[in-house]
Symmetry: C2
Subunit: 247 residues, 2 copies
């Protein structure tokens, strides 16, 4: 019985356990499969970068990858699964985040958000299609993006803020994280459909995160967050004045 590996699994394989302890029994069949899979992923990256979202046709992809049209479906399951399988940025994200040094636990959260957005906006063609796939409601691949590693990272940041006394202990960390994620996701959505200009995206995220975090913060930490709200909305209004009104 062949099981189609979810993008999340493929992603997990990539991420940490690079321990090559159990690669020995890789028969010729598995090796070929892995190579085809890699070729498909590679071709998909190329095609998206070249032609953008709409340019990724399964027939062109199959031709480019040197396989038949049905093979991507056997190996990944659907077009959407292929697009989501491109998401392996967490390694890069972790490396770059490790370089940041912020003592303030809330500052760390904002830096993480900024970094995430910077990565996405640096490669719009790729990540716009990827995020469009996230918002595709046709099939049931929702668990893909919110994998455990990603969750654990953000929950760690929030837990640190609680430990530092920035966020009240009575606040549910799980739901705080979730509401923050709502803001992040919708900002990505507004970005890919053009309701937010790239310049406004970081400020919009800062603004939303600051609002929610201030709602969850202890009184002592409320002040800086209020200042951050004002600063980010100032940037947003200014950017809006220059460009056409994005709303």
């Amino acid at each position: 019985m062949s099981v189609i590996p979810s993008p999340a699994e493929a992603f997990l394989d990539f991420d940490e356990d690079e321990a090559p302890g159990e690669e020995a029994p890789l028969g010729r069949r598995e090796a070929g499969k892995a190579e085809r899979r890699a070729r498909i992923i590679h071709a998909a990256r190329e095609l998206i970068r070249e032609t953008g979202n709409a340019g990724l046709s399964m027939r062109v992809l199959a031709q480019r990858a040197g396989v038949s049209l049905a093979t991507p479906y056997n190996l990944f399951g659907s077009k959407r699964a292929i697009v989501l399988a491109l998401l392996e940025d967490v390694r890069e994200f972790r490396e770059r985040f490790a370089l940041l040094r912020a003592t303030d636990p809330l500052e760390r959260i904002f830096q993480a958000v900024d970094l995430q957005i910077e990565i996405y906006l640096a490669d719009p063609a790729l990540y716009k299609t990827m995020w469009a796939a996230v918002f595709d409601t046709s099939d049931d691949l929702r668990a893909t993006l919110w994998n455990d590693k990603r969750d654990a990272f953000w929950r760690g940041l929030i837990a640190a803020a609680v430990e530092a006394g920035a966020i009240g202990r009575e606040i549910s960390q799980e739901w705080l994280q979730r509401q923050l994620d709502h803001v992040f996701r919708c900002i990505m959505l507004d970005w890919i459909v053009g309701l937010l200009t790239p310049e406004a995206v970081p400020s919009a995220a800062q603004h939303g995160y600051a609002l929610i975090l201030k709602g969850a913060a202890t009184p002592e930490w409320s002040g800086p967050l209020g200042a951050r709200i004002l600063a980010s909305q100032q940037r947003l209004i200014e950017a809006q004045g220059e460009k056409l009104s994005p709303l």
Copy 2:
């Protein structure tokens, strides 16, 4: 030159100006067009209610409406536009909201959110497909849902809260509304893909709105909002304990 009316226009027509002053020159051609349009809308409603999201095929829809396959495209433009044209709930929403009497301006916001959610959850088949169309990023119908009337209503609620001294005057009302909307939209998204059980949806919305509003609130109004955060997250955690973990 025939102009395809956007769903937003059709929606606006429906909403307020029912003044039948200019219906006289409705020739036989226009009358037939209006009737076909109504038949298509009616058939779309039926089909979605019967078969759910995936069951709405354009061929079946055309057959059910007694028109040719091309007619819905001529009259509406796309399948997505038809689904979005089903959105005419604002009249019902306004009527029911007018019945609510809350002196507290923030309470009014929470009641409006609850009411909105109640309307959506009362007809899951229809509104799940409708919201799925909202999150469809393929074409450029994004301005449809966020029409001026809807915006004006919510902005009015926020402005009233500012006037009452509940929300700081230094807060940008436009961006506050937008961040609230982010939470609302993502909660709808989580609902339609099954990440949120119907029972959890109202509490999740209350929770998100309370967090953001507390972040924007004046100190005097912060206390009740904090209580609301705790109450809603309590409900969420309890609901989570009963069901399978929705995350």
